[in-house]
Symmetry: C2
Subunit: 126 residues, 2 copies
DNA sequence: TAACTGTATTAATCAAATTAATACACTAAA
DNA sequence: TTTAGTGTATTAATTTGATTAATACAGTTA
């Protein structure tokens, strides 16, 4: 479910946060389903429970999960999260376009890539 | 010429590397022109000369500059660098499009952003 | 020679991430 | 009620990477 990359410069807890975000937003983890416990996931990944705790705290802070003491951590309703992710992607698109312009890339090349991805992947419906 | 952002999580030397790359690829620094000396730039930025040294070593490793002992560091011919930068941007465009698709964003939204940037910025010629 | 340049090395310092070791509170089931 | 799970909190130690500090050495130029 989670694979750590120790060459990645980002801290482990951030990798874990990101990975769960992906899983939740792709629908791979259903709303209200339970996440692995702090201790068990730490065992699985051979890292310290505190690091998992930190990742979970961050996920909760961002509204991705909610925790119930004594029971566990659970996937929250994250419709609103998707919106903020969308914003982030659009911002990233802006940065990419700026850099492409800076490098004198023709905008058609960007178009083509987008078309390629969208035709390959098809569209989901909500 | 160079402004450091201490809130940035990336190391200082990397910020310096990136900034010089920008300057060189935008044409703001001409080929064979001299970079500030290790010690003088360190003074300017109020940081340790070793940090500049590290940044310059990295720039040289990547082929952006060449150094002459006793004389200084100089901007290299970096036509090929621009090409690899272009590749990197296209790859980034691909990732962005994938994520946009994943988030069910209409591709027209990406188009619009690109158009906006390109119309605002105009095109340079080589 | 003097004052610049780059390069290399070693040790010290600092900050952030991670680990380690606990303790405490809640839940669920035997 | 006891046991074994769960989350949460806290403090200290450790580790790692970045940065600083202090030097030394070598080449260039005036």
């Amino acid at each position: 479910m989670i694979i750590l990359d120790y060459r990645d410069r980002r801290p482990i807890y951030e990798q874990i946060v990101e990975r769960f975000q992906e899983l939740m937003m792709s629908g791979a983890m259903e709303e209200n389903s339970q996440l692995p416990s702090v201790r068990s996931l730490a065992m699985d990944l051979s890292i310290n429970p505190n690091t998992i705790q930190r990742a979970y705290a961050e996920l909760e802070r961002q509204g991705y999960i909610y925790s119930v003491k004594g029971k566990g951590n659970f996937v929250a309703d994250n419709g609103h999260i998707k919106d903020s992710k969308r914003e982030a992607v659009l911002k990233r698109q802006e940065e990419t376009a700026k850099e492409a312009l800076f490098l004198q890339l023709e905008k058609e090349k960007l178009y083509n890539i987008i078309d390629e991805i969208y035709s390959r992947g098809g569209m989901r419906d909500d």
